[in-house]
């Protein structure tokens, strides 16, 4: 049986690891390579590393640093940040990335995403869906002043045949007071590719709620691992009590 994936997320701002709240107020939380080493030793299911300011600062991801992070990992790693051409992806795969995570370019260039999928295969191309609540609906958070609804974006990306959605609730990011299960279910009902739910995990109850009330098979989290004593294994032990499939 396919196991639920508990995925620590490392967010990098060009200088160091940071953790944001609602996508602002970055707080320094340490060293990326050391963090990757710890997560590897704990046998986590997967790791995500995102350079959250590369696109905004119009620079490429630091390949040397990413290579050092990946070197620590004997599990799959997804990398994102400032990906805007085929060579960017080639460079990341060459140093051992398994998946790339694309956001900004996906908002502006569907043709590019289609090209990525045909070149590298669906399974390699994950799309970051940063959703912000807007009354009863959601729109896609971006710094390009683009107005795009959650549904429009999911449909566009489905059409491109991408392999996975990393769905982050901007409102819940870093707040540690629970996931936006409604958001996750909305995306789940619009696609049949895997979804990683992100944003809001602060205690065991939050994770239990997410997996009891949605069909998602993966969760990404950062704050809970930076700021509490909980580890990915603790979350799995709790989920196991609910008869959810986990890898211990």
């Amino acid at each position: 049986m396919l196991k639920i994936r508990i995925i620590p997320i490392l967010t990098f701002n060009g200088l160091g690891l940071v953790k944001t709240k609602q996508f602002s107020n970055p707080r320094m939380v340490g060293n990326a390579v050391q963090a990757a080493r710890v997560y590897n030793s704990r046998g986590v299911d997967e790791l995500i590393f995102l350079d959250i300011s590369a696109s905004q600062q119009n620079r490429k991801i630091n390949l040397k640093l990413v290579a050092d992070v990946i070197k620590e990992c004997y599990m799959p790693v997804g990398i994102g940040g400032g990906i805007s051409c085929i060579d960017d992806i080639n460079n990341l795969l060459k140093i051992g990335a398994d998946k790339v995570i694309i956001k900004t370019k996906a908002l502006t260039d569907k043709t590019f995403i289609k090209e990525c999928v045909s070149f590298f295969g669906s399974q390699c191309i994950s799309i970051s869906v940063d959703a912000i609540k807007n009354g009863d609906n959601y729109s896609i958070y971006n710094k390009l002043n683009l107005e795009i609804t959650l549904e429009e974006f999911i449909n566009d990306m489905n059409e491109c045949n991408v392999g996975e959605f990393v769905v982050t609730s901007v409102d819940c990011d870093g707040m540690m007071d629970g996931f936006d299960v409604n958001l996750i279910n909305r995306v789940a009902s619009k696609t049949n590719i895997p979804i990683i739910a992100v944003g809001g995990g602060g205690n065991m109850t939050h994770f239990n709620d997410l997996f009891l009330n949605s069909t998602t098979e993966a969760v990404g989290s950062a704050s809970i691992f930076h700021f509490t004593q909980y580890t990915p294994l603790d979350i799995k032990m709790e989920l196991q009590k609910l008869n959810k499939p986990v890898r211990l």
Partner: protein, 202 residues
């Protein structure tokens, strides 16, 4: 020496990293002479079947590998796309011929209720224990949308259940191949590689 075949289909670095961890000497190459001189051939890879065949043919690696593996019986390990390419036929993005070493066809996974790609850790049902000795967990990491429908069940060394029963590894004489990624499957994957290459140290 282990030759990791470099044919521009990604992820060769991860395989070498795992082999380095196990203190196994390997080289990433598309050089015919170096591949012919090696004791083991590893064909990794991610991406589309057709592109994989095009890339192999571009360097005449298809002919070389068939000569070494089928006629000279050199040990061969295929991983993910490297397992699929040894099929007779693939379908990504359209039907095309593979290396044809193992009878069967690589087909798109179809499901109404399961998310595809099949992505994540899944436990396998082992039919042939040869290389799975000493493995503590049967969970391995999968990431694929196509699966190898193997004709002869005797060629199958393990299955994985994802909706249907899918082939997760193949063993036939000197050929061993996995749909999952041992190099990304932490302790279990490393143990599998250790088992497989236990004769490779030179």
């Amino acid at each position: 020496m282990i030759a990791i075949v470099d044919y521009g289909m990604g992820n060769v670095a991860s395989v070498q990293k795992a082999l380095n961890f196990l203190n196994l000497k390997s080289i990433i190459t598309n050089d015919h002479k170096l591949i012919a001189e090696s004791n083991y051939i590893v064909l990794p890879g991610v991406g589309s079947f057709k592109q994989g065949m095009i890339n192999l043919k571009e360097h005449k690696l298809d002919e070389l590998l068939t000569k070494l593996v089928i006629h000279e019986k050199k040990n061969f390990l295929g991983i993910c796309l490297g397992m699929q390419l040894i099929a007779e036929f693939g379908n990504e993005p359209e039907k095309c011929e593979g290396l044809g070493w193992i009878k069967g066809e690589v087909k798109k996974m179809e499901s109404h209720h399961l998310r595809i790609p099949h992505m994540g850790w899944n436990d396998i049902d082992i039919k042939n224990e040869t290389y799975f000795n000493g493995i503590l967990s049967k969970d391995f990491y999968f990431i694929h949308s196509f699966h190898f429908d193997v004709t002869n069940i005797n060629d199958v060394s393990s299955f994985v259940r994802y909706g249907d029963k899918l082939v997760s590894s193949i063993q036939h004489e000197n050929i061993f191949a996995t749909q999952f990624h041992p190099e990304k499957s932490q302790d279990s994957g490393l143990q599998l590689l250790r088992n497989y290459f236990s004769n490779a140290k030179d």
